[in-house]
Amino acid sequence: MWVYEKKLQYPVRVSKCDPRMAKLLLEQYGGADGELAAALRYLNQRYSIPDKVIGLLTDIGTEEFAHLEMIATMVYKLTKDATPQQLDAAGLGPHYVAHDSALFYSNAAGVPWTAAYIQAKGDPIADLYEDIAAEEKARATYQWLIDMTDDVDLQDGLKFLREREIVHSLRFREAVEILKEEREVRKVF
């Protein structure tokens, strides 16, 4: 189970009215390397991964939901006061006809999220390498998102999220090292 805190992991400020940016941010909402995919990937893989790294997948998977909330907040702020005409001009006309201004799990091109984006291979090394790759792809996506806006407040939130991907990647690589250990070996730090 989870305990919910009614606050964001990091404050989200958006200072520029730019619905176009909402469309682009959807890549990290319902995209292949987005936060939803990350959370669902890790929280599902953890059942069959060796006990030593279950806790790590639980912690990071949980944090990804906190990131998802931050992206949702950004998208919401950028779309809640937009007229249908403004949404259409931002490329969100197809989104509007399906969802009004509701958020939905699709990527920046409007493709709905699919479980085909994620995998649980059962092989711990293969699963952790997918996780490492996902973190690096998310880091790159945040870089390109930062490049697409000149709103320094929005950039600030995106830079925080980008940094978390870097930390998560290292934690997953540490998990690989733990699983490489032989069972008889005692590692001393």
Partner: protein
Amino acid sequence: MGNEFEAQSLPEEGVPPEFRAGCHPAGRSQERIHVPYRSPCDPCPPLPFKTYVVPPNQFIVFQPPNWPQYPPEQALRCGTLWPALHSPYRPRRGREGEAT
């Protein structure tokens, strides 16, 4: 509080010798064992352990030159020129009585 990286104590009975270090050319087994958490309320009898493979590529950052090579014909069959990169796989089928 124990070291979190300390190996779990495993049921020694029923652990086949292939799982112990030494069967790999580099002197370490490529198979690892873990024992998933056992609940007193599990509906089915527990498997003794589960295995996974850590292939030798995991220990090589960048392959140095001049490593020992298989004879050419054996290399063709093995899929690699270098014994240090060879990863045998024991199919799970036929490992009856053993957990996978």
